[in-house]
Structures are given as structure tokens and as C-alpha cells.
Amino acid sequence: MCGIAGSMYKRNGAQAQVGKALISMLDGCQHRGPDSTGFALYHETHPGEMRLRFFVGTREEADAAIEKIHAKLAEHRAHILKEERAGTSYSVNVHFDGDVQKLSYDMERAAKLFSIGESLDIVKDLGGAHDVDDAYHVRDFHGTHGIGHVRLATESDVTADASHPFWATGFSDVAIVHNGQITNYYKMRRRLEKRGFAFNTSNDSELIAVYLADKLSQGCTLEQALKDSIEDLDGTFSFLVSTKDEIGFAKDHLAAKPMVMVETDDLIAIASEEVSLNRLFPGQALNTTEPPPGTYRTWRRSI
């Protein structure tokens, strides 16, 4: 139960103020989810460099978790280039050229992993968009694209690690924000688990992320993966997915969850409600469209 938002800038390249844009869009629909807020942001990549972000909590609990993370990273011969603590999380840039899936499954034993990617960084915590921004300085983030989420917890806990966006556990750089409920969750999860994938939460949004990332890793285009998802996933959903270079959406056949978008020469912006889009264009009447039921679309960054 929530609000979602995403944007991709077409022109300013890595210098677009994606962080600021997502903060205003999510603040605009915070009424849909006051419990927690999260962002999936895509940084510029550096060859051979991976970024990991963990949930570690605070104080001694955090110190202990970080110690474990250091040990695990050493075990995997991931060489630490940069590290930082903010809010309840710890992020680390490492030099790593091994198997990402193996690394991520094993790192989960040290601490709750929010994201791994050459580019992806997931920042999420309790509170509203501005609360999370205050702790993590999302406003300073520049890049081409990102997605975000405000959450009203209905079934799982109100904790930072149960917040969105969800990273596709085991696959680098794929993230998802989702509004709705996947009703064939267990069936789909068992199917993926049989193929060796691990799940870190019991949240249906993590399932969508892993489902899509699996398709991508098999050589599927994002567009094709989204098309398949509408047939394979049962329930109500409007979701946004992002990768290093693309952003896309899919909407179920029942059209039970809202989604509107606006496209200009400069950007594409998608959100649960038009009120979020208008935050980017105050005082302007926008030429928005509501994607019909059972549709999907993707955009690729041009720079």
C-alpha cells in the first residue's frame, strides 16, 4: 500500500537533480504512505567498482555489523575503496570482480543488504521523504534516473529493511518499487527458489525484482520481461523497475492501482498521482497520460 515515483532525465546527463525531483514527488504523495520512504539512485559507474549498502542500525549494533561486513568482504577478496555511515545504514565501495550472486547471498549473513550494483544505491528508512533526505542527503544526488516509494505497511513490519525500493537480491543494479499485492506470491517464489535463488524478505515486491532480474540475466530485454510479468504475476500491481540504463513500468489487467506519467523533451516522470508530477511543474497544467490496464513501457538513457 503506497505511492511510487520515478524519473529519467534525457538531457542533463549525470548532472540532473534526480534526488531533488524524487524527494518532491514522494513528498507530494506522502499521504499514501507515511511509514517509510526510499530511493533507488543510479550513480556513475567506475570499472571494477561495486557499491554495497547495508542496514546496520545504530551505535554498538552498527559497529558489530560493520565488523562482520569487513570480515566477509575480506573473505571474498573485495577490496574496500570507500566507506560511509549514514542514518541506519552503512555503504561501502569495493573493488570486486567475482560472482555477485555468491557475494550477495553470503554478505546477507553479515548484515541486511539493501543493494549491490556498479551504479545502484538504495537509500531507505522510516519517516517521510524529507526525514530520509535529512539523514542521507538525497537532495545532493545527481544522475540520470531513479525511482522512489512511500510506504504504508499493511502486513509486514514497519522497519527500514521492509521498506521499498527492493533490490533484486543476487543481481546487481536492478531495483523495483511497487504498489499493490501479488497474489500468486508463494507459487512464483517456490518456482524461483527451486532454481536456486534466495529471498531476503517475505515481501512480494522483492519477488517481482528477482523475477525480472532473472529474465534479464537470461538475455531477455527489459521490455520483454515486463510483458511476461503481466501474464505471470497475479494480483494488483503498478510497478516501476530500474536498471543501470533503463526505467520501465508495468500495470496489471485490472487497473486497480493508479499510475500517471508525463513526458517532456527533458524528462519522463511517472507517479501514482498527478499531484506528484505537478510538484515538478508547479502552476502548470500538464499533458499527462494514464497507462491503460495490462500495459508496460521502458525508456533507455541516451547519455
Binding site: M1, C2, G3, H31, R32, G33, P34, D35, L152, A153, T154, E155, N179, G180, Q181, T236, H253, L254, A255, A256, K257, P258, V260, S272, E273, E274, V275, L277, N278, R279, P282, G283, Q284, A285, L286, N287, T288, T289, E290, P292, P293
Partner: protein
Amino acid sequence: MASIDLAQLPVREANELLRRYGEDGEDVEILNPDARHHIGVGLVHPIQVRIRGSAGYFCAGLTDGPRFEVDANVGWGLADNMLKGSIVVNGNAGAIAGVAIRGAEVVVKGNIGSRAGQVMKEGTLLCCGNANFMAGYMMYGGRIVILGESGAQVGQDMTGGTIYVGGKVNSLGTDAQLIDLPAAERDDLLAFLDRYNISYSGSFQKIVNAGKKLRYPRTEPRVRQGPFFMASGSQSGYWNPKVQEDIFIRSRIGRYRIRGYGASRALPHLTDIAFRKDLSGIQLDRDVVAKVNLKTEVGGRTGAVPLRLSMPVTIAPMSYGALSKSTKIALAIASRLSGVSENTGEGGMSDEQRREADQIIYQCLSGRLGWNIHDMRRANGLEIYISQGAKPGLGGQLMAKKVTKEIARIRGIPEGIDLRSPSRHPDVLGADDLVIKVEEFREATSYRIPVSVKLGAGRVRDDIKIAYKDGFDFVELDGLQGSTGAASHEVLEYVGIPTLAAIQEAMDALAELGATGKMPILLMGGIKDGVDAAKAIALGAHAVALGTGAIIAGGCIACLQCHVGQCVVGIATQDPEHEKRYNVPVEAQNIHRYLESVRWQLAAITHALGHADVHQLSRDDLVALTPEAAAITRLPYAPELREQAPYRKAS
């Protein structure tokens, strides 16, 4: 023309200002709307409102009379429940445009989202572009005109009304059919278009209900084995007179059995809880009512005017429709005499009911039957029904015999159908939509009236947390033992969790949120007297609602035939010949005396347990008599008390 700038003023203040301009008859333009929600909600004056930009959810919702024009787009729920008046949208509209309108003219120049015109009753919804999935879903009357394509499953489960499609009909919904369009009707449509300066020269296809699903093919044969209580709680869950009756009836109709009343199988209940202290001296004090404070306020959590009850008791929601008007009036009178609140149930509020009850809660259901801004404003509490204990997850059922001309008029539906209300609200598909809906109600009533939610006990823990986060003033929580006027046997018996488990889960949920005591719970579902009520309050309920008990006090013989519509005592009927048997003043007094007996029981127990205020009752006053009740409530298990004095026992 006056101006309101939403870049300067929040919507709440803007709407208040708008209503003042409405009283003065001055037209208004709204600047910088920026797709904000609830613009114009609750306006009941025939002024013009021009919105210079896009509006969000529920634009012009719960209104009567104004004429709106929106320069750009609108979000979900355009013109929700608009009575008279009109709105022209120059851009696109989101999902459920024209939901539940009752006479309004709604014109969208662009496209409309899915489920347009859901549960509309009267008026016109015109879309100049394309419609989307399930336009006209569950509509009861009025007309939808689509100049472009219809979208898939147009007219899905429509009961009444007409849909005209200029472009392609992508696919027809269940029980919808295409029929010929008479020339006069086409002229009517063109005249309507002309009034809004829309030129159109194409043809129309006409879609109406095919009439295959409006009535059950066979109705339940009537049997009178004995009253409900011969079956309920029977020691044999396998074979008993009720099981025999169920099989007999199903052998005649070949489907699920519909009947009145609630779950009849034995379930853990408040009767499995006892008071820890010996109350054997309880009868001695005749003035005990004067010695204990029973006064209870409900619903002031967000600053609204709370219900002020003389004791922690209310009348449970029961509709005019399921019950006769006479019964509803008797309940209203009794509620006034005893200083408690009445509840409209599903079918709208009658003037007589409003007049007789001092305090009344107005219930809003998925079909929006009898729902309107004027009755909202004269209510003392509003209630969004999500589900009820007797049939969680389903809407109400009112069999054809009871859907008389009068009932059909109030509810805005065709006469003589087997009315099966929608199972979910058009505009509440999740907690996130619900919060916007609650805000719409608050806007429409100037934040003056408490807004509550009624939940059938299922996933209580999750639901209570959602209710708290969505800012409800209180919750009406209804357990599996709740009764109803008509529902299927399977759902009555097997769906939901018992009332005892429901209150425990609700308390746990609030405790987990750190919100113990912050959101009152009105518990209902098999609460039959003041003894049950005292136990419910000790377990954490703030008050209780009595339904079945009040009806029985007022003459019900519990024959289970409520759905038939020919109630022999004039309660569950709309037939004037049957209703004549109901003596309103006498039954009002009977119900009043019953309520007073509940008051005495509550006072006597509170006093005997050593408290001065009924709200001092707590879990410390209780023990569980059965292992099941102990497991559910985590109260101390005291089997040794099972055989002791009756007041110490259940009741």
C-alpha cells in the same frame, strides 16, 4: 468572480472559503490547483467554479448543485456521489469518473480511466475520448455516453441504466447486451452534446443489462423447524436440526443457502470468560446505576465532535431495507430514550429515523445506496463499511421481495432485483486509497463529524493497524458471531474469526503500535447483554454494539427467514400488510427496557468489582473458563470456576 489560490491556501481552508462563497452565491476560480485532491468537496450551492489547471482525487465529490469546469485533468473519483450540478473536464479523467452520481452531468473532453460510472444511479457521464476497462461496472441507472472506444468489458455487471458507445465496442461485460437505438434516444443524446457545444455526427451503439443475473432462479423454500437458538451452539456440530434443514433447502435450490441470523456452530465466546471476583451479592443494590459512571464518549481523536453515550452501548448497524421502517423508528426511539446511538446500516437515512434518534451513525457501503452529502451533514458519525462479521469480504444482500418501489427509490436502484451489493468500494482498493477517502469525508463535513470504519473480523491485527494509520476516529469491529438479514450459509458459518479473538487481536495490534487506548474499538458480534458488554470492555473494547439483542427485544422470533421479506412480526419486511403487525410505540419501549437492563447489568458488575467507572474494568477482572478462551485471550485459566454461581460464570 472570486479567486482562491491553492499555492497560498491549503485545500481544507480553500474548501471552507468555497462553501462561504457558495452561500453568498458568488462564482469562484481556483488558481494553481496542481492536481491537489478534494477540490470543491461538499459544496451544496449552485455556483460556478472554474479550476485553472488539473485537479486530483474526488474533484467535486459529495456535492449538490454547483457547476464546475476544469481546464486540464482530474484524478480518481471525479464528481463522486454528485447529486445535481455539472462538471466539465477539458482534459482526461482518472479511474471511476462519475462514481455513484445521482443526477449530475459529468462531461470529460478527453479519455476516462477504468470503471467509469461504477455504481452510478442517475445522471449522465459523457466521455468524448476513449473509455477504459469496465466502464459502467455495476451501474444501477443513468447513462454513460462514450464517443470513442468503449474499452474492454463495458457494462460489466450493470444492473440498470444505459451505455451509448460511438466508437468501437471492444468487448461486452458479463450480463450486458447490445440493442437497437430508437431515433428519439439519439436525438436526446445529440441535444445533450449540443448543450455542451460538442459536435458529433457519428452513430451510437446502445448497451443495456441483459437481465440474466438480476434474480436467483430459485428461492429458498420456507421451513420453520424452530428458532435459531435450537441450532446455535448445539452440542452436535455434525448432525442437528439445522444441518438437516440446510441439506433440505440446498436440495431444492441447487446452490448456497441464503438465510438470516449468524454463525450457528459453537465457538469460543465471551460466555467462556468469567469475572475473577465472586459477584454473588450483586442483586442486592437497587440504586447501583447511580453509583457508577457509565458515560462514554466515542470519536474525538482528531478533533471532531464525539458521540456522547449515556453508557458504552450503541445500536448495531441494520438497514432500512433489511428491516421495516417501523422497526428502524422503534430502534431510533429506544436509542434516544436510553441515550445511546442508532446506526443507519446500508440503506440510507430516513427523516423519521433522524428525527427520533438523538445520535445516529450513517453508514457508507460499497454500493453507495442511499448515500448523499445532505444526510452526511446531519449525521453524528460516519462509518465506512469495509466488511461485517456475518459475511467478511462480501457486500449486503437484499432479496427481491424487499426491493420495493420505495426502497429502490431511496437506494437509486431498479425495483424487484435480488440486490447483491458490491463486495468492495469503487474507490478503496487499498489502505492508500482509503486514507484519501477518509479525507474526502472530513472535507465534506468540515472535520466536524467523527469518521469510523467497520471491519468484519478477519485479519484484525493488520486491519486495526491500517485503521489507526489512516486516522479513523474509531473502529466498529464485528466478530464471526455477528448476524445479518441475508447471507450465504458458508460465509455465515465459516468465514472470519470469533468476536473474542477479534478484540484480543485488536488490542495486540494497538499495543504493537504503541497506541493502546488511542483509538476506541466498538465491539459487536454476539454481544447479548450487559454481562457480555462488561467482559468486552474489560478486554479493551471502548463500547459495544447490540444488534440481534435489540431486535429480539423488539419482537423478533429468530426464525432465520429474514431474507424472505414476509416477516410474521413485521420486522424483516417491506410488505405493508406484514409491517402493520409491528407496534412501534410498544416495541420501542421494549427495546428501551432491554437497553436499561443492559445498563443495570453494566453498573452492577462494575460496582461489584470495586470500580466507580465502567472504563476502569480491565483484564485483571477476568479469567478464562475454557482452554480455548484462555489461549485466545491469554487470561488465566480457571476451570474450577466453571461450576460456580451463575453471575460468576458467564451469564
